[in-house]
Symmetry: D2
């Protein structure tokens, strides 16, 4: 894939903003631990950060399907399309097991 | 989509076999409850059935991407491809939240 | 655990009703495949069945914590309590990975 | 819960270390985006960070059950135990939906 742009290239700024916000949330978790916040409140915030991360995952998936996978299909390269679809499905499976 | 075949049409038998096995596992859960099986053993089996169901979900996803989405892309219909990719991503999100 | 009642013993009827409903949903999935239902509609229903199964898992977990784990703690057996808590946490982890 | 220690108080250092590592992984994701890393490789790393976060969640859950919930049960306060178990189960549900 070296010479190609990744599927998310038009949205790098937005992805970076989401990841910086998540980084801030992880620092917030450290602060909560530091201040002896009640276990369940920390756990609820862990779930919120997980959800935000999965949101990033879903954006990456959609843009990958839209640009890389659909691009391969549009070019008529069926072997490559099949390989990319299989790879994307395996990545979704890793998200589900995470 | 009425006149088209679903993406899984070549694998209906295999999908049905997986679903019949899952149906048997759900009946097995009822038997476990009936026989007062230890809570954690039932819970472990619930997780196994969930995993089997998600396996079916992943097969449906892969075949949908391979046949329906890649098919739309190969036909050059970019609007339809974009709509299908968006719809598939939303379906993955529902699997993640399930 | 052989001589003890499982944590869910007061709610067996309700659990069985939930599992019978899930069994019916799995048969519904087989019907959807049989009738060539659109991939994404089947996938959405797979997510709904997963969610119903996880609901059963959560009921089992809550009743196990309420009766078996809290019971061990109330009896003052700290080693057994610790072992049961560890076991329950591992079961939650299997649910998360399912 | 204000006058009590959270369940994780004996392991704050270890939790902080895990969270700092996760913070580093989130910064690593930003670097990957910056360097136009292939979508699926970023997605795989997103799944790894989610898994690490859920590991923190499981540690918080286990220590909460071990110290706060089992503590309430050992003190004989059944109403409070029941409320804490219900609250913990709801927190697990939020993790599952995240």
């Amino acid at each position: 894939m070296d010479t190609e742009q990744p599927g998310y290239s038009a949205d790098k700024q937005q992805l970076q903003a989401r990841l910086r916000r998540i980084e801030g949330q992880v620092r917030g978790l450290q602060r909560m631990i530091d201040e002896d916040t009640y276990c369940i409140d920390v756990l609820t915030q862990v779930a919120a950060v997980s959800k935000a991360l999965q949101g990033v995952g879903m954006q990456l998936l959609e843009e990958h399907l839209q640009h890389c996978v659909a691009g391969a299909a549009a070019s008529g390269d069926t072997d490559r399309t099949e390989a990319l679809v299989h790879e994307a499905t395996k990545a979704v499976e890793r998200m589900l097991r995470a």
